[in-house]
Assembly symmetry: C2
Homo-oligomer: 537 residues x 2
Amino acid sequence: MDRPLRIIDLLLYAAEAFPSSGVVSARPGGITARATYPKVAARVAQLAGALQRAGVEVGDRVATFAFNSARHLELYYAISGMGAVCHTINPRLSDDQLIFIINHAQDRMIFCDPELWPRINALLPHLNTRPQVVVMTDAAGMAPMAGEVLCYEDIIATEPQTIDWPTLPERTASGLCYTSGTTGAPKGALYTHRSTVLHALYLSSSLPDSLKERRRVLPAVPLFHVNAWGLPYTAPLTGASLVMPGSSLDGPSLFALMDQEEVTSAWGVPTVWMGLLDEIDRMGRLPKGFNDLVVGGSAAAPSMINRFEDMGVNVCHAWGMTEMSPIGSQGNLTAHYDHAPLSEQRAQKAKQGRRMFGVDFKIVSDEGVRLPHDGKAVGNLYVRGNSVISAYYNNAPATTDAIDAEGWFFTGDIAKVDPDGYLTLVDRAKDLIKSGGEWISSIDLENAALSHADVAQCAVIAVKDDKWGERPLLVVVPVGDAPDPAVLIEHLAGSFARWQLPDSVVFMERLPLTATGKISKLTLRAELDPAMKRAAR
Amino acid sequence: MDRPLRIIDLLLYAAEAFPSSGVVSARPGGITARATYPKVAARVAQLAGALQRAGVEVGDRVATFAFNSARHLELYYAISGMGAVCHTINPRLSDDQLIFIINHAQDRMIFCDPELWPRINALLPHLNTRPQVVVMTDAAGMAPMAGEVLCYEDIIATEPQTIDWPTLPERTASGLCYTSGTTGAPKGALYTHRSTVLHALYLSSSLPDSLKERRRVLPAVPLFHVNAWGLPYTAPLTGASLVMPGSSLDGPSLFALMDQEEVTSAWGVPTVWMGLLDEIDRMGRLPKGFNDLVVGGSAAAPSMINRFEDMGVNVCHAWGMTEMSPIGSQGNLTAHYDHAPLSEQRAQKAKQGRRMFGVDFKIVSDEGVRLPHDGKAVGNLYVRGNSVISAYYNNAPATTDAIDAEGWFFTGDIAKVDPDGYLTLVDRAKDLIKSGGEWISSIDLENAALSHADVAQCAVIAVKDDKWGERPLLVVVPVGDAPDPAVLIEHLAGSFARWQLPDSVVFMERLPLTATGKISKLTLRAELDPAMKRAAR
């Protein structure tokens, strides 16, 4: 029997099958708001009614500009459920990028957090459309706003708590997320009901211990980008509860929230967990109930993985991309390693894991030759599957660039794959350092440097070199006083050939981050590579 | 990105992601054969090569006539993988039914177990086609066979261990299973790649604790009927291993196999578990590692559920149908009951559970009015979803009868649904007893009778009555000597109104079973109802 896969069915299922689970939202001032899935579903019906009343039609883009909260989750379901496209906007983008994105998407409405309203309000005059702005708060929270702005709780208050959800073809567009794009204009990854529901099903079958009823999952990864790794969809499907941290992702805030809400599983990028680790050290204990960490977005350093694992927290090193819905692989150990020495288990956990069911990998040489999955051959990583985008939104040139003749999507990553399917990212293609005709992996050098006790954070970038083409430069945020650079480089010498070692070390107080929380190597190169500095002048 | 959902991808994934998991097959004589999923995948490629060499084409039906084994699993994947239709035939059907089914399906080949070859061989002259017969054994096992019969291991031996699996549209037919049909000719439920892969994904997200890597699952439910409840697909998807019991489903054989193979989860019909319970009592312990039972096919009596639960085995009461791939609902308790009294938890476990994600329920009065899910309204149960068949194979009249104007499939069950989604089957529509204008549930009476210590098995059937229309008759297989009928009926009196009680009790040594292992009430009525006996003369 052919029934279209629909996103709204995930929530309607949760409302019926998991009435005790739901969503907790941390709000400014230490307040937490709670809603069970039946309550969320009722409010989502109200919100969809309000969208219809506002004239939103099938295919229209409706934007969100918000941190992680129950209201943000409600928007995910109400917008896609009625057939419109939920366009999540990353507040960490520059004004120019925001203006470009909103104009490109032609958003009909923008829902924003109260704390983000001034930002949107300032952008409005620069847009070539006039989106209706709705502030995600109640009447009391509206006091500081001005102009033609609506209040979230006001517009949904009088709508009915049930709605007849339309039966849409499963390839109807449902979501839109622009990649921040270190070069060129942002590109919009377009998701469909089919890609989203299948991604949720794939993910739930891949992580059965993290995602099920009675688990409480904290997405530190934002709903405003990469669909919070699919948790807004997979949690209701599996009956897991969501604990939404709002905008406070510092270690003490996260620890307090996780401890109070007995979060079992936390998902996010490495930089966030470095902050949590510091707080765990300070408190001398783990947050109550916490035993599972899913880390991705950037490669997690082995030293960080080991610290969590030593405390009894299972670390699942995952990998994905905006264009992949986003999960591609997850690193929970297969039974094959159950009796392996700890060192081997840990080495395996530092890799990016095995592909999820439904996602295929291929690695290809620069000459276009397909390479074996033998754990040795290194090449360009391509992916394929129902949860991989088929096109960028209204951007044929970018689509053509990204997808090869056989329909595979190029990730921009350089990788190798073991015979048992474990993926190892060697580098981002653009971060790989080409020295004297040979490649050096910036990730490998960074992981080795992070194992030194005096290194808090670090990055390795390429700097132009007249003789070798490029040479690696190590940038370090020290734990305390800056250590001797020669000692740091000598620390690396055990794991690398001499010519692969950085020639010098630069110390900084903090590393620049991209809008998605990753270390911005583009910014570092612009600041630290004399050749690039010259070019920029 | 649009990739067709393909059954073969489930196995290819297992071969890569779960190399330590696989299939154990019990063979006659206490021998067990083992194959990891990589080995299974290699043999499946060989088998598909052999099918192609034999001239099998996309859309052809290839039949299996076999008990649960790795070879039977290989057939599931090789036949569907190459685009043909895997037609599983139930060896417990009558010769007339087998001839009808094979002729109706126009099977091109029939793969049979050695022990079932004589049966097939005797049928061949009565078929209007000439299917090629292949015996599922090696050269040594072929000695007793004669005629134009091929040997499974021979035909695959020289084929390559990899194959370029075709990319088929996901709605390509993949499987066929005829319902045994207590009335009328058998009807073929036709499955597709889409329905099968989605069913596997739905099931894996519904039972995360039963189905994952490091779990060892015993399908006592046959691969020759209702897809062994989807385990041949869901186990590879999730990395669970399969322990195939062959044809020996008696308590001692099952106990010995489960104990040796440390089966964690066993799936099958209540009658099989009654035998296992006896053996557990005899041994004074559970099989090693066993902690999870999935029971369905017929309603499981509370007394049986309680015996397993009291020993620490989690009982999941599931419900489904051939036409539903087959799982519709599962009865693991929601968190809502975590702190409920034990009696309430057990009462909930006796129900048929909550719908799986992807399966919708509606209950409808005889007049066609949709009834509320309020735990009170009783009506005809209809289902809808991607894992529900859209048609019977080459049988338009039966399809039209089964599916209503809105596209819902009528299950033939009378049921009610609680507000939190728990399904309770009141009776099969045809088994409900109509006495004096009021309905009596045969299942309720049976469950109550089974709670009496002297009752090993029982059935309640309707017998014609001149005054009341129908009256309930209790048929009992006693544990030892037959107890006093009046005592048995008095045992029921506490839970039923006087007019609902059976008027008399018949004792039998064993109950007749249908081809799918359920108690055959049709046979009982033919034997025990004087009115029907007269009609049959």
